[in-house]
Symmetry: C2
Subunit: 179 residues, 2 copies
DNA sequence: AAAAACATTAAATATTTATTTAACAAACTT
DNA sequence: AAGTTTGTTAAATAAATATTTAATGTTTTT
């Protein structure tokens, strides 16, 4: 019996535990399951080409191409430009702190920006209603209530931005050290 | 021309700005678009019944029922037990700080727990390979590398837990005040 | 206890999203 | 410049998810 194969199989099995767990939690980052297991697989390699990915995951090349693109968008994978080959090669980001930073800061800034803009616009409109003397008291009161509701939420969006800033700058690690 | 209707329409339009923005960013919280706009709609009401939701969103009642259940899971909506009616009523959580806490702590703890467990299991297996004198040097070296790789990632998962703790306990607000 | 009101589950349908096969485009090699 | 290798886009297919209609269960009222 081939001993070497057995050794590799054991190694592979151990890796699969971690790969499975990473892939399963990657749905939290909004990527498709295939992109999740793609990243997890790359995590144990120092670099991979599209053809190696296809072979390893037994999927089509376009699927790998789009998966890798998604992962690049959230900077969990980087393209490298190696000499001696025409194939593009890709490297998984292995620093989870960095992945965390890129993903959540991007996400929170989008949320904050979009909602803040909508709030500003809405507040102006509420204000017009409130100031308009021809508008009934009931509607004015509702407008006032709504104005205050969204006004209060601004604290949250500003806080979310400060959290993102603090993570991006690394200041958060003064408060919560890496180890 | 009906003046009252016009007033309400203006109010409605202003609200819609904010509702649209909230609904659009709710995909970040892993809920379906319909649940997103359901939450956003409820945000401007003090309470709603399933029938009111159905009417307002022009969707089926089961759809509202399942949407509300999803939102309850992440505690963005709570059921209330009002007197005087048999209808269940639901209230949107209006404190975004609280929604943030519940959602991300839940998420990060799941990620941390699942990966930590997988890592512990894998490390034992890597260790067996490393200690086995019959295993080839190449495989042992790979096992050692992989062992170290996952060992390093533990810092991150522990940090993630500490972040969740700090948010749940409110200690984070000593570092990053709410306003 | 029967009927009515409401909410939920189940099955069927529709919609969206992911994946593949096939066609195309770009870059390199000879 | 022609041919080959590689990567991406487009169209078609497959799979997953959301939504609806219909059926069922549960509570309240009479």
């Amino acid at each position: 019996m081939d001993k070497t194969k057995n050794e590799f199989a054991k190694l592979e099995e151990a890796k699969q535990h971690v790969i499975g767990a990473i892939a399963e939690t990657m749905d939290l980052y909004g990527v498709a399951p295939s992109a999740g297991s793609l990243y997890a697989t790359m995590y144990f390699k120092d670099k991979m080409t599209l053809d190696e990915m296809r072979e390893e995951l037994e999927m089509s090349k376009p699927s790998m191409s789009t998966g890798v693109r998604k992962l690049q968008e959230i900077e969990m994978v980087k393209k490298t430009f190696p000499k001696g080959t025409r194939k593009h090669t890709y490297v998984a980001e292995k620093d989870f702190f960095r992945s965390f930073m890129v993903f959540y800061c991007q996400m929170w800034e989008r949320e904050s920006k979009m909602n803040m803009e909508a709030i500003e616009a809405a507040q102006e409109e509420f204000d017009q209603i409130i100031k308009d003397p021809t508008v009934s008291e009931e509607v004015v009161n509702q407008a006032k209530e709504h104005y205050q509701l969204v006004e209060n939420s601004k604290d949250y969006y500003r806080w979310l931005e400060s959290l993102a800033d603090s993570i991006r700058s690394g200041k958060i690690f003064d408060f919560l050290p890496k180890k």
